[in-house]
C-alpha cells in the first residue's frame, strides 16, 4: 500500500527512502525516520489497539512515550518477541513486523468488545462487590476469566538471545532532556568547562521544536538552530551526547539511572552491540529539562480512533509530513492547538472547525483563523462523537446551553493545555507547589543538587526558558549572550477535569485514563464510595496505573476527584511519581549479570582433575565441590559406599581447598582467639592444632574449625566453607571496635592454599616418599599437629588431623601447585588403593564419628552444650564471646534440644534428613494432628562400614534419653528409632593413630 496521507513539502523525512513493514499481516510502506505510528497514519491507519477493560477500539493518541492506546507486539523472530511497544516511540525499520494486542479474533472485530455494552455492570471496583459465591468459585471460575480478559500483550515464551550492557558514569552536570532548554543549558555548562552528559529519549535532539518548527532562534529556523547546537556540543571533549536514552530513575545523592536503546531501531543489529544499555550516573548537579506533555480534553466519547492530541498532529505534520486527516476538527482550551490548525490548513487539510471552550480566545488567533477561513466556535464544547473504528462526527453545543450541531470530521485534535513533566523532580523527593492561576504543579523545594528549567518548570515562553537554562548551566560569572526568539507559539490557556457536557449529571463515557478505561464517572463513583484520598481513588479506579503511568490522566483525575469532594485540588493530594519514568526492560537492569555472569562460580585448583575423573559436583555457596566420583555403572549410593570403604580400609583423598583460612598474626594472637572462640588457646604449643568453636554473643554456635599454631605469634585458622567471609568480618569487627587493645592482624589465606586431605590407614606410607623435612612418625608428628616443610619440592603446611576418624593429613600447598601435588599424591597412592572421595562420602565418614557440620547439625539455635561440645568450652576463661549469652534462662533450661545419635530398629531403613521425631506411639494411630514434635533428624546416611543406617538428631533432653525408643512418623509409616551416642564407629578413636 502507498502512503496516501504523506504531504509533499512537509516533514524532515526523505520521500525517496521508503521501507516496508507489516501490521496485523498487511504490508505497508513507510519512510526512514518514521515511527511505527507516523507510518501507520501516513497509510491512513488510526485503529491501533483495544482498551484494557472494555476492549474499545482505540487509535493513535499521541506522538510520544505518553501513548496509552497504540501498544503493539513487535517480533524480530520467535526469540525476540516484545509486547506492549508504543507505536509512537518505536522507530520504523525495514521489515518490521507488528501485531496489535488484546483482541480476538481481529482488531476490527474483537469479541470481548461485548464488555463495552455491558459497561454499566462493570463500574470501577465492581469486582470487589461480586464473584464471592460460591466461596470456592473465585480462583476456580471467576478469576481465570478475569485474568484471561486482563493483561495487554503476551509474555515472550523463549529465552532472550540479546545482550545488555551497563555503564557507570560520573559527570559535573547531567541534563535530562535535549530540547531548546536542555541544549542551551548544555552549551552553557560545557563552555564553562563542566563535564556534561546530555540525554534525550528521542532519536534526535530538539524536543518541542519537533512539534513547533515555526520558531526562529538567532535568525535560524528552530531546526537549523538545533543542528548547530548539537554540532557544537558534539565537538566538545567534555560533553557526552546520548539519544534514544531515557532518564527513568532519580535516586538518592544524585544517582540517576538512564536506559539507552541501542539497537531497537536497526533492521539488522550488529550482534556485538547490546540491545540496551543501563547508564548509572553519579552527577554533581542535575538539570531537568524534561519539558511538558499536552493533556487531552475529557469529553463524551473522547476515545474514538482519529481523536488525538493537537501537538501530536502537529508533530506528525512537521516531522513526518503526515496529515492525520483530510477534514480535521479542533477542540481546545489552549492556544497551541490553534497553531496546529493553522499548520494543517497551510498543508491543505480542511479544518472543520475550531471548538474552543473559552469564550474569548486571543483575538490575533481568531483573526488568523478568519483570514484562512476556519470556522470558530467560541465557548463551545463537544457533547457527542460518532464513528466506531474511526471518528466520523462531533456534536458541538454552546457551554452555556443552546442548540447542538453535528459536524462531520475524519479526525479530531484536542488540547487541554500542557502538564509540566515533573516526574523526575518528584522522584528526587523534591516538593511540588500548586499554582492555581495556571492549574500547574511546579517544582518548589529541592532536596538534591538539582534544578528544573524550561517547560517542566513552567517556563512556556522561550525567552524565559532560555534565560533559565543559561543560568542553570553557566558555572562562570560571565553574563550569557542573549538569544533572539521569533514566531513563538503561545501555550496559554488550559482546562482541567471534565469538560462541560461530561459533568456529574451527563450519562456519557468521558475517558480520563484511556488504557485502563477510567471515565470521569468512575472517579466520581470512587469518591462517593468514600475514596477521599487520591491514592484511594487511583487504586479503586486504577486511573494512572496503566503502562503510561498517568502521564495524561493524573491531573484530570485529581481535578474531578477534587470537584466531587468540593475540595481544592492540592488538598486531595498528588500521587507519588515512581520510577521508572517509562517502562524499562528487566535485562537492561540486570545487564551483564545473566547466564555465566549471574553469580561468580568458584572452583578449586583441582577442579579440572575432578571433572576429568567424572565427578558430580554440588553447589556450596559460590563454590563447586566434587560431590562424588561415580565409576561406570555406579549410582550415587554405590559410589559413596565405595569411597567410604576405601577410606576406612585403605586411603582416600579429598579436596578441602574451599574451607576458609585466616592467618592470625601478632603478639596477642592467642589472647584474641581466647576471646573469639569458646576454647582456651594460650597453652596450645607451637606445631599443635585444636578444634575450635566460635559463638556470637547470643551463645549459639556460629562456626567451627581446626586452628594450628605456626609460631608464638602466628596461627593458621580454618573456618567452614560458607562461613569464611562471615567469620573474618566477625573477627575484624571485634578487633577493630572492641578488643582494640590487642596487637593482632587478620589476613584471609583461603585461596593461598590448596588443601588435599588424605585419610585412611595407608596415608602415611603414601605421602611419606613425597615429603621432605618432616618426620611423619606418630612420635614426631602425633594427631592434631602441624609442620612446615616440603612436599613434591614445594613448601607445605602439613596438618595431621582427621575429619573421618582415620589417620589423616591435610596437605596445604600454595594454590598454583595444588593440581600438580594432587596428581603426584594420587600417582603415589593409586596403586595402593588411594581413592578420591567427594563431599557426600566426607559427610558419611564424619557422621560415623559424630563430628558435627555447622549449619546442618546446628541451626543457629544450638549451643555448644546442646551439641555435646561442653568439653570445648574453656571453663577457666573469664570471658569469651558467647559466654554470657549461653547463661540466659532459656539456654540453660530443661528440655532443650540436644544432639544425639539415632539407630533405626530396622538397620536397613535410612531416615530422611529433616524428618520429625515424636516421643509416644500413642499419638500415632489414628494420627492426631498436630503432633508434639520433640526433635528432628539433622544427618542421616547408610553406613557401609557398619552395615546399618546411622543418623544424628536434635532431640529434647536427648542426652538423657540414650537407649530410649522414639518414633519418626512418615507419611506412609512410622519408623522406630533408638537413641544412641553420637559416635558410631571406632568408639575409642584408636584408628586416628592407625590402631584398631
Amino acid at each position: 500500500m502507498s502512503a496516501q496521507n504523506r504531504i509533499k513539502g512537509h516533514g524532515l523525512l526523505s520521500l525517496a527512502k521508503t521501507i516496508n513493514f507489516t501490521f496485523d499481516g498487511t504490508t505497508y510502506q513507510g519512510l526512514e525516520g518514521d515511527t511505527l505510528a507516523s507510518a501507520l497514519l501516513a497509510n491512513g491507519v488510526h485503529l491501533a489497539g483495544r482498551s484494557f477493560k472494555y476492549h474499545r477500539p482505540r487509535g493513535i493518541l499521541s506522538a510520544g512515550p505518553e501513548e496509552p492506546n497504540a501498544l503493539v507486539n513487535i517480533a524480530r523472530d520467535s526469540t525476540r518477541s516484545q509486547p506492549n511497544i508504543r507505536a509512537t516511540v518505536q522507530e520504523l525499520y525495514d521489515g518490521l513486523v507488528a501485531e496489535s494486542q488484546n483482541r480476538w479474533p481481529s482488531l476490527a472485530f474483537d469479541f470481548s468488545a461485548i464488555n463495552d455494552g455491558l459497561a454499566p455492570f462493570f463500574p470501577a471496583g465492581f469486582y470487589y462487590k461480586t464473584f464471592k459465591w460460591p466461596p470456592k468459585a473465585w480462583d476456580r471460575l471467576y478469576e481465570p476469566i478475569i485474568r484471561a480478559a486482563a493483561g495487554l500483550g503476551k509474555s515472550p515464551t523463549e529465552a532472550d538471545p540479546d545482550r545488555y550492557a551497563n555503564h557507570y558514569a560520573h559527570c559535573d552536570v547531567l541534563i535530562a532532556g535535549g530540547g531548546i532548554a536542555g541544549l542551551t543549558a548544555a552549551l552553557a555548562a560545557a563552555k564553562s568547562g563542566k563535564k556534561v552528559i546530555l540525554c534525550d529519549e528521542n532519536p534526535n535532539f530538539g524536543g518541542a521544536i519537533l512539534y513547533d518548527n515555526a520558531l526562529e532562534i538567532d535568525d535560524l529556523s528552530a531546526t537549523e538552530w538545533v543542528e548547530k547546537a548539537v554540532a557544537e556540543l558534539a565537538a566538545l571533549e567534555n560533553v557526552r551526547l546520548l539519544t534514544r536514552t531515557t532518564v527513568f530513575g532519580y535516586y538518592a545523592q544524585n544517582f540517576v539511572a538512564l536506559a539507552e536503546r541501542v539497537t531497537e531501531h536497526m533492521a539488522e543489529p550488529d550482534p556485538a552491540l547490546p540491545r540496551e544499555r543501563l547508564w548509572q550516573v553519579r552527577a554533581k548537579k542535575v538539570i531537568l529539562a524534561t519539558g511538558a506533555i499536552e493533556r487531552h480534553l475529557v469529553f463524551a466519547d473522547n476515545d474514538r480512533p482519529g481523536i488525538m492530541l493537537a501537538s501530536a498532529a502537529q508533530k506528525y505534520l512537521n516531522q513526518y509530513g503526515v496529515a492525520v486527516g483530510a477534514n480535521v476538527g479542533v477542540f481546545t482550551a489552549c492556544d497551541s492547538a490553534w497553531a496546529t490548525a493553522f499548520a494543517l490548513k497551510k498543508a491543505g487539510v480542511n479544518i472543520a472547525a475550531i471548538v474552543d471552550l473559552r469564550d474569548n480566545p486571543p483575538l490575533e488567533l481568531q483573526e488568523k483563523a478568519q483570514t484562512c477561513g476556519i470556522r470558530i466556535l467560541r465557548g463551545y464544547t463537544i457533547t457527542k462523537t460518532t464513528g466506531r473504528l474511526r471518528v466520523q462526527s462531533i456534536t458541538v453545543k454552546p457551554v452555556n446551553g443552546g442548540t447542538s450541531e453535528q459536524i462531520r470530521v475524519d479526525a479530531l485534535i484536542n488540547s487541554a493545555g500542557w502538564t509540566p513533566s515533573v516526574h523526575l523532580f518528584s522522584q528526587s523527593r523534591g516538593k511540588l507547589k500548586w499554582h492555581a492561576n495556571r492549574n500547574l504543579f511546579l517544582p518548589d523545594i529541592y532536596v538534591q543538587d538539582c534544578i528544573s528549567v524550561g517547560a517542566c518548570n513552567g517556563a512556556f515562553d522561550e525567552n524565559e526558558l532560555i534565560a533559565e537554562a543559561q543560568a542553570a548551566g553557566n558555572a562562570t560569572r560571565k553574563k550569557a549572550k542573549t538569544i533572539r526568539i521569533k514566531n513563538q507559539t503561545s501555550w496559554a490557556g488550559n482546562a482541567i477535569g471534565a469538560a462541560p457536557g461530561a459533568g456529574p449529571n451527563d450519562m456519557v463515557k468521558a475517558f480520563v485514563d484511556f488504557q485502563n478505561d477510567v471515565t470521569a464517572k468512575d472517579i466520581r463513583l470512587a469518591v462517593r464510595e468514600g475514596m477521599h484520598s487520591i491514592e484511594h481513588v487511583k487504586r479503586f479506579t486504577t486511573t494512572g496505573m496503566a503502562t503510561d503511568q498517568g502521564k495524561l490522566s493524573n491531573m484530570h483525575g485529581l481535578a474531578i476527584a477534587a470537584e466531587q469532594l468540593g475540595k481544592n485540588l492540592p488538598d486531595v493530594g498528588l500521587t507519588t511519581f515512581r520510577a521508572p519514568y517509562t517502562p524499562v526492560t528487566f535485562s537492561t537492569i540486570a545487564n551483564h549479570a545473566r547466564g555465566p555472569l549471574f553469580d561468580p562460580t568458584r572452583k578449586t585448583p583441582m577442579h579440572q582433575w575432578a571433572v576429568d575423573k567424572g565427578a558430580v559436583f554440588e553447589d556450596v555457596g559460590p563454590w563447586k565441590r566434587a560431590w562424588y566420583f561415580p565409576k561406570a555403572g555406579e549410582d550415587m549410593h554405590a559410589a559413596v559406599n565405595r569411597e567410604c570403604m576405601a577410606v576406612r580400609e585403605k586411603a582416600g583423598m579429598f579436596d578441602a581447598t574451599t574451607l576458609g583460612k585466616i592467618e592470625i598474626t601478632g603478639a596477642d594472637a592467642a589472647e584474641f582467639l581466647n576471646r573469639l572462640y569458646t576454647n582456651p588457646w594460650t597453652k596450645l604449643g607451637i606445631g599443635r592444632c585444636r578444634y575450635g568453636i566460635m559463638c556470637r554473643e547470643d551463645g549459639f554456635i556460629y562456626d567451627d574449625g581446626v586452628i594450628g599454631r605456626m609460631a608464638d605469634d602466628r596461627f593458621h585458622v580454618t573456618t567452614t566453607t560458607g562461613g569464611a567471609p562471615r567469620v573474618l568480618n566477625h573477627m575484624e569487627d571485634y578487633l577493630q571496635t572492641e578488643f582494640t587493645d590487642l596487637d593482632v592482624h587478620l589476613t584471609s589465606t583461603s585461596e593461598q592454599w590448596a588443601v588435599i586431605a588424605v585419610q585412611g590407614p595407608l596415608v602415611r606410607e603414601i605421602i611419606e616418599p613425597l615429603v621432605e623435612g618432616i618426620d611423619l612418625s606418630h612420635e614426631a608428628m602425633p594427631h592434631m599437629s602441624v609442620r612446615e616443610g616440603k612436599i613434591c619440592g614445594v613448601p607445605t603446611r602439613l596438618f595431621r588431623m582427621s575429619f573421618t576418624g582415620e589417620m589423616g593429613f591435610e596437605i596445604n600447598v600454595p594454590a598454583d601447585y595444588g593440581e600438580s601435588v594432587w596428581q603426584a599424591v594420587y600417582a603415589q597412592g593409586e596403586p595402593k588403593g588411594l581413592t578420591p572421595y567427594g563431599t557426600e562420602a566426607m559427610h558419611v565418614l564424619r557422621a560415623e564419628k559424630g563430628y558435627i557440620i555447622v549449619g546442618q547439625d546446628t541451626d543457629g539455635t544450638v549451643t555448644p552444650h546442646d551439641a555435646g561440645l561442653s568439653w570445648a568450652i574453656g571453663k577457666a576463661k573469664p570471658d569469651f564471646v558467647g559466654k554470657r549469652g549461653m547463661q540466659r534462662p532459656d539456654l540453660v533450661a530443661e528440655g532443650r534440644r540436644q544432639l544425639v545419635g539415632l539407630r533405626t530398629k530396622n538397620p536397613k531403613v535410612v531416615l530422611e534428613e529433616g524428618a520429625q521425631i515424636v516421643a509416644t506411639p500413642g499419638q500415632l494411630i489414628p494420627p492426631a494432628i498436630p503432633m508434639k514434635m520433640i526433635g528432628f533428624v539433622t544427618s542421616s546416611y547408610w553406613s557401609e562400614a557398619l552395615g546399618h543406617s546411622i543418623a544424628l538428631a536434635l532431640v529434647e533432653d536427648g542426652h538423657s534419653l540414650e537407649g530410649d525408643t522414639l518414633y519418626v512418623p512418615m507419611e506412609d509409616r512410622t519408623i522406630e528409632v533408638e537413641v544412641t551416642g553420637c559416635v558410631f564407629y571406632d568408639l575409642d578413636g584408636g584408628r586416628l593413630n592407625g590402631k584398631n
Binding site: 464471592k132 532472550d160 540479546d162 539455635t861 534428613e913 520429625q916
Partner: protein, 417 residues
C-alpha cells in the same frame, strides 16, 4: 450496610450507580473510646473489626497518620502461605489461612483470595534438607506442604527454568497448594468497611504524637494532630513506625526498620500460574489479576524511613528473576516502590502485652506480615479484649528477647556451611 452482590450491582447499573454509599464513614474523633488502635493498615483494621465482631467492643477508634491501607498493606507483594517451621509460626499463619478462606464471604467484600499455590525452590543440598525439615514439621502440624521434583515443579509452573546448566539448578521445591495471593487494597477496604459498619471510627490524616499515661503509668489515651483522645487501652499496630510510637511510652523495642522494595511489570496475558519464591537466588514472583508480574526485592542494608531504596537492590532482584525465568528477560519494569519493614532479631513478630498496662503491640512482621493479616488481627483483638494473649500468640512475647526463648525462623534456615 449496603449489601454487595451481583444483584445490587445489577440494580445500581440501571440507576447509574448513584445509590452506592461510602464504604466507611470518615468521622471526626470522639473525646474517648474503649480502645484505640494506632495504625489503619490491614492488621490494625482487622484488629478493630474482630474487637467489634468477636468481643462486642465497638467503641473503637483506628487512628491513621495517612490514608488507610497506605503503608505496607498497600505496598507488599501479597504472598500468603503458612508453611513455617516452628509450632508458634505454623500456628498463627495457619490460623490466618483458615480465616482467609472465608473472608470474602464474611466481609461481603471480594478480597480475591486466590489459592494458586506457593512454590519455594531448593537450589542446593542444604535447601533440600531445610525444606524437607519444613515439610515434615508442617505435616505433623496439619499444614499442607509437599515436595516436588524439578520436573513436577516445572509442570506446576511452566515458565520456570530447571536446566541443569543454570547457575543454581533447581533441585526440587516445596509447594503449599493452599498458599497464594489476595488483593491487598481490598483486604484493607473490606476490613475498614466491616469495622466502620460495626461502629468503629476510622480517623485518617491524624497522626499520633504522644501516648498518655496516668501517675501509676497506665495508659489513658493518645495525643494526636486532632487533639487528645482518651482510651484505657491502646494497641500499636504501626509496622515500620512501631519503634517511634513505643518510644512515646518509654518502651525501647528490639526492632530495626529497613526499606523493602517491590516492582511490577507491564501487564501481560496469564503466564505465571502460581507464586514462586527462592531464598537462595533471592526472588519472589507472582502475577496479579491485572496481568502484572509482581516481584519482591530485598531490603537495603541500612535502617530508613524514607520509603525508597537503591537501584542496585532491584538489579539483584531482576538478575535473579531472569536467571530463574529467562523468558521474562524482555519484560519491562512498569513501577517500583518501597515500604518500611520492622524486623525483629529472630524474624518473628511481637503480638503481646507490654510492660505498660493498657498498652499492646503488634509489630515485627518484617517482610511477611500481609499473609498473617486476619490471624494477627483476630488474636490481637483477643489479647486486647481479654488483656491476655490468645494461645496462638502466646509465644510472640517481648520477654523472649530477655529469656532467650526465640522463635528463630531465620536461624532455622541457616546458611549451608
Amino acid at each position: 450496610m449496603r449489601n454487595y452482590s451481583v444483584f445490587s450491582l445489577a440494580r445500581e447499573a440501571l440507576l447509574g450507580h448513584k445509590g452506592w454509599k461510602e464504604q466507611w464513614r470518615s468521622p471526626e474523633p470522639k473525646k474517648s473510646y474503649d480502645v484505640i488502635i494506632v495504625g489503619a493498615g490491614g492488621h490494625g483494621l482487622a484488629t478493630a473489626y474482630y474487637l467489634a465482631r468477636e468481643h462486642g467492643i465497638t467503641n473503637v477508634a483506628v487512628i491513621e497518620k495517612g490514608w488507610l491501607g497506605g503503608g505496607n498493606t498497600g505496598r507488599n507483594t501479597t504472598i500468603i502461605r503458612s508453611n513455617y517451621l516452628y509450632d508458634e509460626s505454623a500456628g498463627i499463619y495457619n490460623h490466618a489461612i483458615k480465616l482467609w478462606e472465608g473472608l470474602s464471604q464474611e466481609l461481603n467484600y471480594n478480597i480475591m483470595f486466590s489459592q494458586r499455590g506457593v512454590m519455594m525452590l531448593a537450589h542446593n543440598v542444604h535447601d533440600v534438607q531445610v525444606f524437607k525439615r519444613h515439610i515434615h514439621a508442617n505435616r505433623l502440624n496439619g499444614v499442607d506442604n509437599a515436595w516436588l521434583t524439578p520436573e513436577q515443579a516445572k509442570e506446576f509452573c511452566p515458565p520456570l527454568n530447571i536446566s541443569k546448566q543454570a547457575r543454581y539448578p533447581v533441585m526440587g521445591a516445596a509447594l503449599q497448594r493452599k498458599g497464594g495471593t489476595a488483593r491487598h487494597d481490598a483486604v484493607a477496604w473490606g476490613y475498614a468497611r466491616g469495622a466502620s459498619d460495626r461502629g468503629v471510627d476510622i480517623i485518617q490524616q491524624c497522626e499520633v504524637t504522644g501516648i498518655n499515661r496516668d501517675a501509676s503509668g497506665n495508659v489513658t489515651g493518645v495525643e494526636t494532630t486532632k487533639g487528645t483522645i482518651n482510651a484505657k487501652k491502646v494497641g500499636v499496630v504501626a509496622a515500620g513506625h512501631s519503634s517511634v510510637l513505643m518510644q512515646m511510652a518509654d518502651i525501647q523495642m528490639p526492632l530495626e526498620s529497613f526499606p523493602l522494595q517491590a516492582l511490577v511489570s507491564e501487564p501481560v496475558k496469564p503466564i505465571m500460574p502460581c507464586v514462586v519464591m527462592s531464598n537462595t537466588v533471592h526472588a519472589y514472583i507472582s502475577q496479579s489479576d491485572k496481568g502484572e508480574l509482581v516481584i519482591g526485592a530485598g531490603t537495603d542494608q541500612y535502617t530508613s524511613y524514607s520509603q525508597t531504596g537503591g537501584l542496585h537492590i532491584l538489579t539483584h532482584t531482576l538478575d535473579a528473576i531472569v536467571e530463574m525465568f529467562p523468558i521474562f528477560s524482555r519484560m519491562k519494569m512498569l513501577r517500583s516502590w518501597g515500604g518500611i519493614v520492622d524486623v525483629t532479631p529472630d524474624r518473628s513478630p511481637i503480638l503481646a502485652k507490654t510492660p505498660v498496662s493498657g498498652l499492646y503491640v503488634n509489630c515485627g512482621w518484617g517482610t511477611g506480615g500481609f499473609k498473617a493479616t486476619p490471624g494477627s488481627g483476630h488474636v490481637f483483638a483477643h489479647t486486647i479484649a481479654r488483656d491476655e494473649p490468645h494461645e496462638i500468640n502466646a509465644g510472640f512475647t517481648l520477654e523472649r528477647f530477655r529469656n532467650g526463648r526465640l522463635i528463630d525462623e531465620a536461624a532455622a534456615a541457616a546458611v549451608a556451611h
